[in-house]
Amino acid sequence: MTRNKVETSHAIVSSGSLADRLYTAVVVVVSIVAFIVVAYPLYFIVIASFSNSTMVNQGQVILWPKDINFYGYEQIFKDTRIWQGYLNTVIYTVLGTLLNLIVTLPCAYALAHKKFKARRIIMPLFVFTMYFGGGMIPTYLLIRDLHLLNTPWIMIVNGALSVFNLIITRTFFESSIPEELYEAAVLDGCSHFRYFISVVIPLSKAVISVISLYYMVGHWNDFFSALLYINSDELQPLQIILRNILLSNQAFAGGAGSGAGAGAGSYAQQFADQIKYAVIIVSTVPVLIIYPFLQKYFEKGVMIGAVKG
């Protein structure tokens, strides 16, 4: 592309040809629309959760909360089902994420070692499971045969390793921790275990944060495992309780799955909506609180995984 030099330098200085200004305008409009489309429904749930539900239903609560009251939250505090579910989910999430890290981090460390020849066999066998699996029924029957059905253990053990997270972690170890460090440590008589615990782990806060968050959110939001493997009410995690409260008392909801606890409509209908808003907030807030703290690591972590994925 050969252009008149005077013209181009002029374009750089003013940087404002019609096309460029149009581009800027499009960027501004799209980002504002994207922001509103995502943020507004979330904001609406927040203000609706402590507004007069009749006014919410009449469409009067649009920008600010009206007739502020905390009836929904009060009802939730009294609801033992929710707290039982909350407690179960916290237990499953904490223990599950710990197990995830115990399984994922050492494995990623070993697989990052070029001298560990077995990785050429192990890695493809792991990656294969990302794209091929036994399916829902054989998995269900296997878990039944292992006597893990309807126990808390299945909620913790299920998904103990995500191959995707393993790849992210392994790639991080390969690219961010210099091999010379290991060579030097070995000369000083350091074993793999020692080196892993006192050198690798402290240097890997970024990737540990990212995969912890992935695993944690996965456990917190897990609905499928409980639907498939858990029957007892006292073992149900929050998401199942939420389903019963939020969805099953809808006239048409549930379809195939309204069996477990359809008696959720125990609240007076006029308050049901407000309780729903409050339940949504209470159940989602823990995850949303943690995430901004880890956000700075996301792009790094996700990118690492993607390059070699």
Binding site: S17, V30, F116, F126, I137, A256, E299, K300
Partner: protein, 317 residues
């Protein structure tokens, strides 16, 4: 690498020469052991159980004890009245999810990358990533609240704009199921999926922008000739990976959005496997249907991978 370190590397550590090979690596083996056990039991175990699809399940004999029946259960599925509806519904949802859902994160990433102010950029990013952390149950509850035919905000808005008839229940009408499913999926994960493209864009050399400017390119041309080519490998890899999941339409969301009014379009293969397999205890039949689903997925992955390798030399394997 420093010369001193290089020299060290060549010489084996004194007294440890005989430990080359398996013995020296016993610690590494211990470290992969938990993961290997998990994958062997919970991933390859069920794969071994796939033979159930070719056997008559027998409660007394367990997972692999039934008599061989060959392709009986596949025949049963292919000839059942649910074969075409489940296959069609799965394809339709997957098709629109990829065609509409795949380009959106790329566009969003291009937009985010063009925002100048650092804080504005952060604010937009933090916001658009957020819905990804909402659980499927809560997402479907949100849909029910916002699309409620009597009190829903979005429903009211669409009615005011004359986009939908006055008395429609969007979550109960078959025609609206796929649009609601796809649009809400974009709402939830477009931001998150854009991260990878934003990261790829941030690694574009600024000299390329300057060079394009000097050649007289305007901002649109920079998008087309600099930014898109820079993220093309990422786009292709992700597209291949998405193709591999073409029939794994999210079970949770479909299941939770399913109701008696929209079942004609919302019964996909995975919900069908759950309904006939787990709920009605037709284990062999369910396994066969599930295996069919997995095989089609795998086929799509291989096809997409081969195609991309031929056309652009980029592939997963």
């Amino acid at each position: 690498m420093k010369p001193a370190l290089l020299a060290r590397k060549i010489q084996p550590a004194p007294g440890k020469g005989f430990l080359n090979g398996w013995a020296a690596n016993y610690q590494l083996w211990l470290m992969v052991l938990p993961a290997v056990i998990y994958i062997a039991v919970f991933c390859y175990g069920p794969m071994y159980g796939i033979q159930l699809a070719f056997r008559d399940f027998d409660f007394s004999k367990g997972l692999t004890g039934g008599d061989w029946v060959g392709l009986k259960y596949f025949d049963q599925y292919f000839n059942s009245p649910m074969f075409w509806p489940t296959l069609r519904n799965t394809f339709v949802i997957a098709f629109f999810s990829i065609v509409l859902g795949f380009p959106m994160p790329i566009l969003l990433a291009l937009v985010v990358n063009s925002i100048r102010g650092h804080r504005r950029k952060r604010l937009l990013q933090t916001t658009v990533y957020m819905p990804y952390f909402i659980s499927t149950v809560v997402l479907v509850a949100l849909l029910q609240i916002l699309l409620s035919p009597t009190t829903g905000l979005i429903n009211d808005l669409l009615k005011t704009l004359d986009l939908i008839p006055a008395d429609i229940n969007l979550l109960g009408s078959p025609g609206a199921f796929v649009p609601v499913y796809v649009i809400s999926a974009i709402w939830q994960s477009c931001g998150w999926n854009s991260i990878i493209f934003i990261a790829a864009l941030s690694s574009v050399d600024t000299q390329q922008y300057d060079a394009a400017r000097i050649d007289g390119a305007n901002r649109w041309k920079i998008v087309w000739h600099v930014e898109i080519p820079a993220i093309l490998p990422t786009i292709i890899i992700l597209l291949i990976m998405n193709m591999g999941g073409v029939l794994s339409v999210g079970f949770e969301k479909t299941f939770l959005m399913q109701n008696s009014l929209n079942k004609s379009v919302s019964e996909v293969i995975s919900t069908y496997v759950f309904n006939v397999g787990v709920k009605s205890n037709q284990f062999s039949f369910g396994s066969a249907v599930g295996l069919f689903n997995t095989l089609v997925n795998f086929l799509f992955l291989i096809l997409a991978n081969t195609f991309a390798k031929k056309k652009s030399n980029i592939s997963l394997m």
